[in-house]
Amino acid sequence: MSSSTDILQVKDLEMHFPVRGGILNRVQSKVHALNGVSFSLKKGEVLGVVGESGCGKSTLGKCLIRLHSPTAGSILFEGEELTGLSHGELMPYRKRIQMIFQDPYSSLNPRMTVRQALREVALFHQVPTPFGMNAYIEELVQRVGLRVDAVDKFPHEFSGGQRQRIGIARALACNPDVLVADEPVSALDVSIQAQVLNLLMDLKDEFGLTLVFVSHDLKVIEHFCDRVLVMYLGNVVEELSCDDLHKNAAHPYTKALLGANPINDPDDRRPLIVLQGDVPSPFVLPPGCAFAGRCPVAEAKCHTDRPRLERKSVDHPVSCWLVD
């Protein structure tokens, strides 16, 4: 799967968060946020990431930009290993791999106007601004669908979706090569959402921007991404092409996701499909398949033996005992 044209190669990535407690505040257990995630990405490719809330999508993104130091595994960026690098050594890469954060509110400085925040990023990364800083900032703000007069406002003066777009503008301010976008359009109405997706598509076509695109909206993933990673409890359970998502989906969790996607027609109302069973614990991983407890087709073996991610056909790995 990996080849020399890959801009990013991630192998067996693990991230475990220690949980402290008790009077001595000792490490009592750990959250297994990522348990061996592997994938590779070609320049200009768009990789979708879907998965249950809490399965490690944001953690994966934060490891890629090295906001977290992964517990184990490797991240190769243009063949260069990022995991062991020190703060200083990472500097040249920071500019090239950027992230749009899921929660724009906590990632924007409340005391800085949009102009100040964007100027700071552009100066820090020494972005060339041939027509001047102000022109650069105003252009960016307009590209994410905000009015020019937004530049002199503070974060609290915006609506949720407007703040999200400021986060997008900030991530784009230093012209990254790889953009990790964590739910970038979920707070936006469909029209602005389309506008932002079109913008990302243009950047991809014009500058070969490579994207890791986390989203819960399968309609968006299907439209926008080339391939999709389906995650469950810190593992990839399926990786497939988006061309025929509905036809090719093999893992029961992927199928459950597709089945629970609400349909845009009030005359075609379906009962809410609520999966039975408990959500597994990330503190103590279950011995078998993590999805077995909620899986509608699980068999005895699924509860006791952990399936491995295996190629079911060309470029279509699935981790499930019941798929062949």
Partner: protein, 332 residues
Amino acid sequence: MSKTKTKPVLEVRNLSTCFKTDQGVVTAIDDVSFDLYPGETLGIVGESGCGKTVTSKSIMRLLPEHLSFQKPESRVMYGGLNLAAATEAEMRTVRGDKIAMIFQEPMTSLNPVFKIGAQLEEALSYHTDLDRKARRQRAIDMLRQVEMPEPERRVDEYPHQLSGGMRQRVMIAMALCCEPEVLIADEPTTALDVTIQAQILDLMEGLKNKFNTAIMLITHDLGVVAQICDRVMVMYAGRVIEVASVRDLFHNPQHPYTQALLRSIPKSGGRQKGERLPTIKGIVPSLFNLPPGCRFQDRCEYREERCVRDEPLLEQHGNRSYRCHLPLGGAQ
């Protein structure tokens, strides 16, 4: 619909909220009026920044008073009390207990320095007379109901240790634990995968069936609207521009903005690689510089001279209303 014959639980009339900013005063929502009936789910949709959150926070009187004010004619009638003019003490008996709200950005309303269990227990101490131990148990039960994995452990975690969707579910648990008469849910499921979303929507339906709770559901997901709302209110640039039953709205929108919004939904299947998505061209007018006529005029493909001159009123037509000189018509 028979529901319209019962008395609304919430009557919002001429609600206008203004912010004082460095550039002057802006009217973020302008003359918003609508009814909410017991046991119904009213969807609220509209372009980002159109005033959905400000409408809900104004009802709850949760906007900072030094930065914002409601115009004097604003009324929000709830059980004989005008919330727009109620005292802070009166509001405290209503907030959380009778009218609960799930916030769009969980981090703005969860306190980062307290464990989530403590925050849930505090809410319970206001609204129930459970003792300490029972409150903790109830908090754990609520977390389990919103599908939080290992709720016994999670109660002792801080917000930053949770994923985005888990924080959102803590908020939902907090709002549901008081069995409110009105639930205002601002994007309650945006950070959740669709299987957990189904679980949360199911919980909200349960609340509706058990306690006849009225739900105001703010969402950008028109699939969710189609599946669970009874009526829908569409807002644009601080104005209500259309209110209709969910079927009328989807099949027969009257306002050109509603139509354009529905057209922007990405279609499932039949994907063309690299195909651009339809958008609504142009941009919303600045709240500082609103045109004299219809607020959608610049972007409207049907615009005529009077649309530029006079702003249309929100008028009732049968059991729906819209604010347009040139409604789209079509089969009713």
